[in-house]
Symmetry: D2
């Protein structure tokens, strides 16, 4: 594989890929920040992503948590490699309510074949922040020549 991208190129790559995920537009999520090995995604509260009690659905929480982890892994990949989620586990710690959710994904260990990641989701409300979810995820490294995830 070629060398890892610098931070600016890594961020451009993450933002470009994210922009092609139509589900993010559908739920209203956006990329807040990209550093090498750490990506933050925001999801404002909205009426069309709720479960039956008016909290944000666990599926939406998982969507941004998985993506924050996946893009954290992508941010440390060289240009000719990308990543694909093979599994994740998420703990739902508290009801997902507030003004917005904020998912932070981080690389725990970057191997040649797998990148192990972890992340947290926080609910921001009136200047305070509550820990609402905890995720660990395995990303498989794929050569971009195969056409998989960029």
């Amino acid at each position: 594989m070629s060398d890892a991208l610098n931070e600016r190129d890594a961020e451009a790559r993450v933002r470009d890929s994210f922009a092609r995920q139509t589900i993010m537009t559908t739920i209203g999520a956006s990329v807040q920040s990209v550093r090498k090995g750490e990506v933050e995604i925001l999801l404002p509260f909205s009426d069309n992503i709720l479960q039956q009690h008016g909290f944000i659905h666990a599926g939406a929480v998982a969507t941004i948590a998985d993506s924050a982890c996946g893009y954290a892994a992508l941010s440390v990949m060289p240009a000719d490699a990308a990543v694909l989620t093979t599994e994740f586990k998420i703990h739902l710690l508290s009801p997902a309510k507030g003004e917005r959710l904020r998912a932070v994904g981080r690389v725990v260990r970057a191997g040649k074949k797998l990148v192990i990641t972890s992340g947290d989701v926080f609910a921001d409300e009136g200047g305070t922040s509550k820990h609402v979810a905890l995720i660990t995820a395995t990303m498989m490294v794929v050569e971009t020549a195969t056409g998989l995830r960029n």
Copy 2:
């Protein structure tokens, strides 16, 4: 706790709760069938729930897989108890593409405090069906008097 509901009442309860999950309308999911301890949810392919390669996003797969498991657990609860997902793990086995996804959730063990569930997601296409995801999830039993999940 009171007695478990009969199958007709359990189904009515599941469908009523599902109808109040706005995310399901947003992604286009529906309840296909409800039996005691087993629930099936459908998600037709659509352009607004995709990841960057045109497959259905892992977050959408997880959304219906978690819900199939949660409602399978709810289907065996008495009227005065409901369930809440506390954690789930999902393996993504193959790209989620095809005409529709079909998630089947089942109760593995129903305890007084926790209901352990597992499920599978299949991609249906032209009469064939491919196994695309595997989930295991822990549901916490809550008394409905607390106002949580019905």
Copy 3:
């Protein structure tokens, strides 16, 4: 990679590798059966593998469950490839007590880089069998030339 082994050679390979795991002798576990894609491991109850209430410790349950999954994956590998557990999740459904535990691991999907497996652990007692644990595990395929897991 070369062709997959036939069932007799796969079994010999599994039993040879298992015999070199000193922890199995320490806890008293043995291989019961090996088929292509499915391996069964036995663990008789003994006084030196218990937790504080006299049940078999979750760590011992996990040890045989992980090994049953890992060897199920190994049983479908060609001679020049082996597997390594990268992660597993285990649900402990009931106290692990009885005459013996029996772990059954199965291949869910065998890919080129990863083999996804699942398994169940049963407690056998007086002719009856109780489901005490459920595992899902990801095995990474490694070339044996690297020296990893045979």
Copy 4:
């Protein structure tokens, strides 16, 4: 439930329970430290807990990781409540080799019914420390009157 124990009493309770886990004597593990919400367990390298390449078996790694998490949860329980592992997931990041393993478990969120925990396992060798495993676990709170886990 009654009040939580002070740190000295919590430590005594953890050490007393640990001493009754015969598997810990069998594999050679010991409690290094107990603080409210954080427990550290040591496992020296020994020849009877290995897998086929001479590394410490994933099952032994999981045994101390699960116990560190379980006892971290127990350390915040009142006298009339204890905990029981209902599920855990462990990522194996690197081969478990070195002079000893050191598992650190921490409470992430302590609820009335469940305590969510996470932990890390490090391999210590010649003054350096390598991250070899990452665990997240769900502990179920049980009243000690039921006789379960002290």
